[in-house]
């Protein structure tokens, strides 16, 4: 039997809320949203952790410019505190090189990282999820008892269809969904709001496509000044999700 499974929720017991930022499709801004959400919450003086579970394409560290730090060992591993955020990622161990993992191995690595990481007391643990509703999503649902999902999509019909499929899985499994955030809005209308109208899932708001975002990656001060983060902050300030 796998002893690690019995320790995971003990590792999370001092965390008030666990929010998985997901959305099914790749390239829609999940990592950007997860990093910005962690930054925003930290700026509001919440104790925040950020866990990058995109093992095949970790990018939260690039967005936040996290470099030259490594977890400390103390009866497990302690996520380094960087810019007010306790951060954990496979990149600490793969050293920026690829980790070509199959599904079962991704599950095993997720179990290991959840079993050995000692987060300490947090108000929020934000999880940057990989694309898809495969092993990582099912593992997070299976292993993290109190997880809630925040879904990201774009106005593209392709992204909307994938988001609806993930939503369907989450609803079937009775997993709480905070709401759906529409990213990269270009036109005035918001198809996400229309799609969600009949599904009884909160539409959190839209964020315009931000041409300046790319230039701000890796610099937290520049990120905080982007339209993306400002709009996200306005949406969060007016939503019920942080309480």
């Amino acid at each position: 039997m796998d002893p690690r499974l019995n320790i995971i929720n003990k590792r999370l017991e001092n965390i008030k809320r666990v929010i998985a930022v997901s959305g099914g499709k790749g390239g829609i801004g999940k990592s950007q949203t997860a990093a910005a959400l962690a930054q925003y919450l930290s700026m509001q003086n919440y104790r925040v952790g950020l866990l990058d579970l995109d093992f095949c394409g970790p990018s939260s560290h690039l967005i936040l410019g996290i470099d030259d730090v490594f977890p400390e060992e103390d009866m497990g591993i302690l996520p380094p505190l960087v810019g007010g955020i306790h951060f954990m990622s496979i990149t600490f161990f793969s050293g920026g090189q690829p980790a070509p993992l199959r599904g079962g191995e991704i599950s095993n690595a997720i179990i290991e990282i959840l079993a050995i990481t000692r987060w300490g007391p947090l108000d929020f643990l934000i999880i940057d999820m990989p694309p898809g509703t495969g092993d990582p999503t099912l593992d997070v649902i299976r292993l993290m008892e109190r997880v809630e999902f925040l879904l990201v999509t774009t106005p593209s019909r392709v992204a909307q269809e994938v988001m609806k499929k993930e939503l369907s899985v989450l609803r079937e499994l009775h997993i709480p969904v905070i709401g759906v955030l529409e990213n990269m809005k270009i036109k005035n209308n918001s198809p996400t709001e229309e799609v969600l109208a009949g599904l009884q899932v909160p539409f959190l708001g839209s964020i315009d496509f931000d041409e300046d975002l790319e230039d701000a990656l890796g610099n937290t001060d520049k990120l905080l000044a982007t339209g993306f983060v400002k709009q996200l902050g306005q949406i969060l300030a007016h939503s019920q999700m942080i309480s």
Partner: protein, 137 residues
Amino acid sequence: MHEWALAESIIVTIMKEYEKEKLSKVFKVTVKIGELQSIELDIFNFALENMIELYKPPVDLNNICLEIDRCILKCKVCDNHWNYRDTPKKLEEDEKEAIHFIPEVAHTYMRCTQCGSPDFEILQGRGVWIDSIEGEK
């Protein structure tokens, strides 16, 4: 020490199984230690001892038997089987350390000894595992 986190998971699991199976006594717990994770046995034993002191499980250290599990890897591409110890490229200390924390990052640092692919499977000897808990009701 990463061994402490794994030792804690062993003790917590023994206690859960003791309650779940309504055991009155635990005779022996066999724990497999996968070669790939390079667990330091002295540290692991010391950690188990301390966790037993902390949690007071229905077992003492003498009843926990640690067995090294040889690490066998199998290439998904060419079907080659090989032992972790036989990997010709010697791993750097920081690479071993990374695999110690997350054994799956072996796919970052190791390749099939025959065809050079990173697409291999860890058939056995990955990490820490409870093989059996023997007791009576």
